[in-house]
Symmetry: C2
Subunit: 179 residues, 2 copies
DNA sequence: CAAGATAGGTCAGCATTATTGACTTAACGG
DNA sequence: CCGTTAAGTCAATAATGCTGACCTATCTTG
């Protein structure tokens, strides 16, 4: 495979057709790029944790639950449902497994005993931390590389992309249920 | 529901337990927040396009394919596989439907006739544009709100989160196949 | 207290998106 | 001609999501 010719599954620019109409304006190109940025950054950020999860027979859905329970001990089931934006049924499967496997504990609310307040067990905390570490390595590298001002900008854009409730949540000024 | 008492599915801070160990250090808290930022921004960014897709009986996977084919007319099947990081089988289902429904056209490579160069039909372009518009509204609002410097920072951090091939791709210095 | 609302759980069934492994066809390339 | 590559396909399976119906326990309110 020493030929200069593209090695087959490589992308070669449009073969005959005109070069596919140049971007209409600068900001369109910028927004096209943002789509790519979000896709690739999310893909690779989640991927590092997926590798850990795979060993344990867990999936991304389990990670999300562990993450939000870990950050909000005493979270209720319905608050978690609002955050994840999935149905009760979908969460049940994930949560039941986490409880069965001893990662998550449930305690009745002491003011309202209908509530099942969710917390991580020590085992759950250990796993969550392990998952976090894998993403932290990637993140700290990225933050260092980009610099503190860039991090501020990153935060500002990400905040502006999410809905109002999620914004309040990440600002620490809202309840988890709003997210 | 006029009582000050948390309205049931609202998240109330840990009921009795100590306030859940304060963050170990500043940068840990920062990275915890970054996990949230990525989750919520991605959730809400994809959500606006999902609403359009739903009407047409398509899913997120179809959008991704449309997006990358649209941005890279003449893309090969295997380049697309590398970008999406899914298997041939998973892509086949998505791609076959897009071709059946007349969104995507395939043409044999003219240098290497094994290749099926993928392009969007006019119908495909129209749909891709419609999907793009929905995300563009959200994005332009976010970019405006955050300001041009923040956008630069956003880009820098996102670039640093993705792997080398994807970085080259978004910089326009790599082939699609590397992403 | 009785009635209605809420939190949570559960059952059955289904759709989408992903996986693996094996195999085929066509075309390229030495 | 032969080995490799691009692409397509078949069969089976898994993870994650959905709907709708229904149940229980508990809280809230008239």
């Amino acid at each position: 495979m020493l030929k200069p010719k593209p090695g087959a599954d490589r992308f070669v620019p449009p073969p005959k057709l005109p070069p596919a109409a140049p971007p209409l304006d600068l900001s369109e190109a910028q927004m096209r790029q943002a789509q790519d940025l979000l896709f690739f950054a999310y893909r690779d950020f989640t991927n590092v944790a997926d590798k850990v999860l795979e060993e344990l027979g867990l999936g991304r859905a389990h990670h999300r639950a562990l993450h939000f329970i870990g950050r909000n001990p005493g979270l209720t089931v319905s608050a978690l449902l609002h955050i994840l934006r999935i149905t009760k049924q979908s969460l049940a499967r994930v949560l039941n497994l986490l409880v069965e496997d001893g990662y998550v504990a449930q305690a009745p609310g002491y003011e309202d005993r209908r509530l099942r307040l969710l917390t991580l067990t020590d085992k759950g905390k250990a796993l969550e931390r392990r998952l976090f570490e894998s993403q932290r390595n990637l993140l700290s590298q990225a933050y260092l590389q980009a610099g503190p001002e860039a991090v501020e900008g990153f935060r500002a854009v990400m905040r502006a992309l999410m809905d109002q409730g999620a914004r309040a949540y990440v600002d620490g000024t809202g309840s988890a249920e709003d997210a």
